[in-house]
Point group: C2
Chain length 486, copies 2
């Protein structure tokens, strides 16, 4: 039967959103903190994405040169002549220079911090941070729930205050990260080291060869997302710096303090915290659900990221509105989403079934045990034993009388007489015989340990008793391939 | 092929030592603390044990009555008329009355305890206790090592001081305990409750129906064992009570104190501690090696029994000279045996291989995981799915278009559109098609969690792709029986 195969090229286009009309949202600055080369997806063409995919192809060809100096900058080594070309200067200003100015004024004591200002900055920090985790991440990137317009507006405004790019850009690269985790297409590819996944990826220019796209038509369908993207630069500047400064002036007449502490330094802090999800959460911690990929669970990351630290869980169950599932794990974002749902501001909170979650934990434990299992000596597998006929057995017995049959398998006890806790006499009496019943309770119901010792004495399988031997081995936990003869 | 079967009756006779000439050791008191009915094995006949087995049979017949009053006392209920017949009065005196007298004199303050006497009593306690654990138990009962005559003499003398019967009697019932653990033949059958396994078994009369024997010819071959058995009553009385009293008189002129504290009370203590191995060690603690039988590991028992508390290990690896294998576990008896070997007093210390030990731990863990596994829903096993031909598939598709094939298995995604973290579009595009490659990386390399969710959408297997489906299921950890069709 020839099944109709799903066309992979077409399917990949769908996954990249290439079937959808691109929504035109004019504003180059929405992808601030991204990299133009990577995310410039939506304002060159008003038809569909085929055009963009074609352009990618052209660009790829353009840099297909064996001359190192003609390759794309990301493929050239750093030299004194070209180092500045490697750098994404816009991002450099946004995540290094501006926060740096803030830190200078703040930490030098030039702009002092008092208790009131600290409380205000922290509150502003939390509102911006939670807008990223609940809004940008769990709502928009993962559709883990729905939210009404007022809440979405809140997330859009305070999310902009965190200076991490527009929802549209953030959601796009985040979806790419999930789909291509730990591959060259993963924008924050953790395999390239802590520093790269933390900030390096945005401070340098990425290789256009590995450009990837994801369908974000559901995001561009949201007028709030479009609105935020369109007016991102002004929204960001206002919400991140001017608004907190104005508020500080209004409440305790400290414009400068508000600008530096609730503005610049707060932005630095929330940026660094968010970056930790790409670095620390792929680097430090446990892997209770699956260890084939880098994401890890750890409470340190959770603490500084409003609960996003249970990242091993999150990559397995991305559309679950929770990141932490145990009561003692810290996940305020989950709580916030839950509370907004009770207030009628959000709805349709998605959860993976408890069954699926426990399956993952169990399989990961099994995997670890299987690794331990592989380190031990389980005796020759039935499939690898020579198969003896009744005659073979008789003949071998003449050469070596120390043979005992248990469950269709022949065991050589030459070296076991002195070690047998049940004594030498019973082994002697069993030589050349089938002692299956005696071994399995007729004389003594041997322990599990005895079965293991027994397996290490194997020397052949009786071809007339093959099935018996296979079942015996299977019951002992030997795997299919250990008892099925080739 | 018809293998020569080991004759079970003959083998059981061997295990009971019935092939050996019984060594005549005259002294009825060697089985003090046993029960005559149970261990009176060796001074009625000087031929072989067939005679004894025959007598057992006769006795069994004698009590084969439907009249309750004619049954053996152990099969009759307790009444006001017969209760005293249930009791083994000799043992009652030895483990209740005599220690009771000691406790009365000691605790009432009539015979005071001072520091010197306490140190002396504890020392004597330890020498007697270690003679039981290292000598009676690990050396003689389990042959876990060999020991030279001076050490054996020490164990025989100080073992007698602990008032637990002769080596011969002790070793015999202990071997029966190991061979018949948790069965009616187990002298201290832990299934009958804490109290029974602690002292009840020796204070009441056992049922002769369940009499068991073990080969102890290696013990009766040892002149020291014979000597101790022959002179047990006098040795016991002297070593347990008179000698400590004399020593106390000699060192600090306190005969009475020595008698009560280093004699009676010490005996009570060491008896109770030893009894704990039969009760507490089968009742409290973990089962890291195997949980099919009652023995358990726990450090409390270890603490009061010179290291015999790692009883789950011990029942799996009885001839290992160690009971504890981790450095932080308390097993002074193991250390003592090791030290005597370095002094040349013992030799041939047996150990099970580290491989066998780790195998046991691993298998027990696997067993626990398998129990967890059974509680979860893994989707319909391949073997239990209806098998569809290409035509069946086409027809079913007409009734329900929401079918996607992955790895030879048909999945119904009707209810999954909204939940798919990868979006509805890709599922739609895959309907009625084979999406195997797309699912396995062609579009997205799905997580382990996704595989579990997928399995719960199964509705049929394609008969032309059965093998593919089976391999897929096997890789996911489904067991042989789940993918092999009946
Ligand atoms: C052929 C390989 C054999 C191996 C590797 C083996 C292994 C062992 C082991 C490890 C024990 C210690 C207790 C336990 O772990 O359960 C044991 C005890 C014992 N075995 Fe075997 N055994 C073998 C064959 C036999 C046969 C053929 C018989 C009987 C005909 C027998 C009778 C006994 C008895 C009576 C005990 C003593 C139980 C006790 O006192 O604790 N064994 N054996
Ligand atoms: C038929 C049953 C399917 C199930 C049960 C399923 C399940 C899942 C799950 C649980 C995820 C979340 C990420 C993960 O756990 O790995 C996911 C993501 C995804 N799936 Fe599926 N899937 C199915 C079919 C497909 C098909 C046929 C395609 C492609 C043609 C596809 C493409 C994707 C993509 C692109 C993602 C997004 C990755 C991301 O952004 O994190 N899925 N799927
Ligand atoms: Fe991640
Ligand atoms: Fe995510
Ligand atoms: Fe025991
Ligand atoms: Fe033992």
């Amino acid at each position: 039967m020839s099944m109709v195969q799903l066309d992979l090229v077409e399917a990949n286009k769908l996954a990249a959103g290439a079937n959808k009309k691109q929504v035109k949202v004019k504003n180059g600055f929405g992808s601030l903190m991204g990299s133009k080369e990577m995310v410039e997806v939506d304002y060159k063409s008003d038809s569909n994405m085929d055009y963009l995919l074609m352009r990618d192809e052209e660009e790829r060809k353009r840099f297909e040169s064996s001359d190192p100096t003609k390759r794309h900058i990301s493929e050239q080594p750093y030299t004194l002549d070209n180092w500045y070309q490697h750098i994404n200067w816009l991002n450099f200003i946004l995540v290094v220079v501006i926060p740096g100015i803030g830190l200078y004024y703040g930490l030098s004591g030039k702009v002092p911090l008092n208790f009131k200002l600290a409380v205000f900055s922290l509150t502003y920090f939390a509102m911006g941070g939670m807008s990223i985790t609940c809004g940008y991440h769990r709502l928009w990137s993962h559709r883990s729930h729905g939210a009404k317009a007022p809440l979405r507006l809140f997330y859009a405004f305070f999310g902009a205050a965190s200076v991490q790019g527009s929802i549209k850009w953030w959601g796009h690269s985040h979806r790419i990260h999930h789909r291509y985790t730990d591959t060259v297409r993963d924008p924050y590819d953790a395999r390239r080291g802590f520093w790269y996944s933390h900030m390096g990826w945005m401070l340098t220019k990425p290789n256009p060869k590995y450009r990837a796209r994801a369908d974000i038509s559901d995001l561009t369908d949201d007028w709030i997302v479009r609105f935020q993207h369109r007016h991102y630069i002004i929204l960001m500047a206002f919400m991140a710096f001017i608004f907190p400064a104005l508020l500080a002036k209004f409440f305790f007449n400290d414009f400068k303090g508000g600008l530096v502490w609730a503005g610049l330094i707060r932005v630095f802090t929330i940026q660094q915290a968010t970056f930790c999800i790409n670095s620390l959460a792929h680097w430090l911690g446990d892997q209770p659900f699956d260890d084939r990929r880098t994401p890890r669970d750890n409470w340190v990351t959770a603490l500084i990221t409003f609960g996003e630290g249970y990242h091993n869980f999150h990559h397995e169950f991305p559309s679950d509105y929770r990141n932490a599932i145990k009561w003692y794990q810290y996940d305020p974002s989950k709580v916030a989403i839950y509370v907004t749902s009770k207030l009628g501001l959000s709805y349709n909170l998605k959860k993976f079934s408890q069954n699926a979650i426990e399956q993952g934990i169990l399989q990961q434990k099994e995997k670890k045990l299987n690794r331990e299992r592989a380190k031990l000596d389980w005796g020759t597998a039935v499939a690898d034993l020579p198969a003896w006929s009744a005659k073979d057995f008789e003949e071998n017995l003449k050469k070596n009388p120390n043979l005992i049959v248990v469950s269709g398998i022949v065991h050589d006890v030459s070296k076991y007489y002195d070690d047998h806790p049940g004594g030498e006499t019973l082994l002697q009496a069993s030589l050349g015989k089938d002692a299956t019943k005696a071994f399995h309770g007729g004389v003594y119901l041997h322990s599990n340990a005895a079965h293991n010792v027994l397996a290490n004495l194997r020397c052949a399988v009786l071809e007339d008793h093959l099935k018996q031997a296979q079942l015996f081995a299977a019951r002992r936990g030997e795997t299919a391939k250990d008892f099925i003869r080739k």
